[in-house]
Symmetry: C2
DNA sequence: TGTACATCAGTGAACGCGCGTTCACTGATGTAC
DNA sequence: TGTACATCAGTGAACGCGCGTTCACTGATGTAC
């Protein structure tokens, strides 16, 4: 348990940043249950009333933690897209794999991101971050149609295209559901023989292939 | 807020049942956050130490609530299977629809069922109930292959068949992911124009059709 | 049919816990002149 | 260059809350004889 260093003895210097870092660490180590304002303050080495100056509410803190997680996921998706630009099937599989890897590495971050009841729905930072992830997903998943790229700005219009709408709903559901069931251990029985890593590797590949074929031909 | 009647003044008669009913009602009305032992006791009209005689732990109570929810889902899936026995595509769509309807009607029950961190993983009632749901899903989703029916007993063996394994992983992920994203409001932007009910009706149909085609041809 | 007794379910008061919130305070920083 | 002052971030003690747990108890039920 590390504390983000202070500049001076009294004022922290960047407590907001330290609190966010503490929150992320707590989430990784103890899950949602461990994520309280007091615990974050403790971990940041500060009295428990101090966070009030930076976050009005625990939900505001959670929102910004989630926003950071969305940013990370977006970055992972972008990276996977860059490294598999040509082949449409390889691209879908790469996106799939990036989503799965992220969720397996940060399971509680992932859970938080999709539990809006814990968060402040009006938080702008969160809204922008999740919109970016969403646009990136849409863009990646529908690129093999040969459509123009989707950005966070053009998303609202483009989503009215019924084919694109259907495709995104289908592909995102596939990937998201796989990850959810995987994280909650529902596939443990499936993976018994081969081991979990092999199972994931295999099923991501076959599911990605199926998904890709479907999006091209349908 | 109703209380399940007592037989006598002192002893309750069937407090275990009353506590489970209270828990289900609380879950529906207030979500996971409202589900505490004390709240259940209060609602069952009993002192807050009374539940100890029936549930060692809040996680045991939650487990049995989840088990009941699994039972309900199983029943809904069975019913949907019965009413669409012939056509494989109609059958998949019916299963899909049953899963979606259940989750929309009891969103917090649905969330609880797939959050094993709140429950007692060793609870036998829960294990059996979820195994039954799972077998029913597997059976419904793979029936169009013409395979023999899968039951909770034969599941562990049958799942070793790689084709069946792939099929179930794919189809279940699809349905489950769709429901998760729907429940958490991720599709709200998609449904803007047509309204949520119409969106659900449409996408369940098209996704089900795609799923069905994939499971037949692949 | 009646009595004695064991068993068990529910009571209610008490305890400790960690949480978020409030508030008067204090120490540091920066700005006006 | 120095001084006065406003601003603001962090302190620490106090409060109330609902939670789960414990424990001596009491009322009801059923069983043995």
């Amino acid at each position: 348990m590390t504390t983000i260093g202070r500049k001076s003895g009294y004022h922290h210097g960047d407590l907001k940043e330290a609190l966010l870092a503490a929150a992320e660490a707590l989430l990784a180590e103890e899950g949602m249950a461990g994520l309280t304002l007091r615990a974050c303050a403790r971990r940041a080495g500060v009295s428990h009333a101090a966070p009030k100056h930076h976050f009005a509410d625990v939900s505001e803190l959670l929102s910004e933690v989630a926003a950071r997680s969305f940013d990370r996921l977006t970055a992972a998706l972008e990276a996977s897209r860059a490294e598999s630009a040509q082949d449409p099937e390889a691209r879908i599989i790469a996106v799939f794999r990036a989503y799965v890897s992220f969720a397996r590495r940060y399971p509680d971050h992932f859970r938080l991101m999709f539990r809006w009841d814990h968060m402040a729905p009006d938080n702008v930072v969160l809204q922008q971050a999740s919109a970016k992830t969403f646009a990136e997903m849409t863009s990646s998943l529908t690129a093999q149609r040969g459509d123009a790229e989707v950005t966070a700005e053009t998303l609202q219009q483009r989503i009215r295209d019924p084919r694109l709408n259907d495709d995104v709903v289908f592909a995102w559901s596939q990937i998201h559901g796989y990850v959810q069931l995987l994280l909650e251990g529902q596939f443990d029985g499936f993976a018994e023989a081969e081991g979990m890593d092999a199972f994931v590797d295999r099923t991501v590949k076959t599911s990605g292939r199926r998904l890709s074929r479907l999006l091209q031909n349908d």
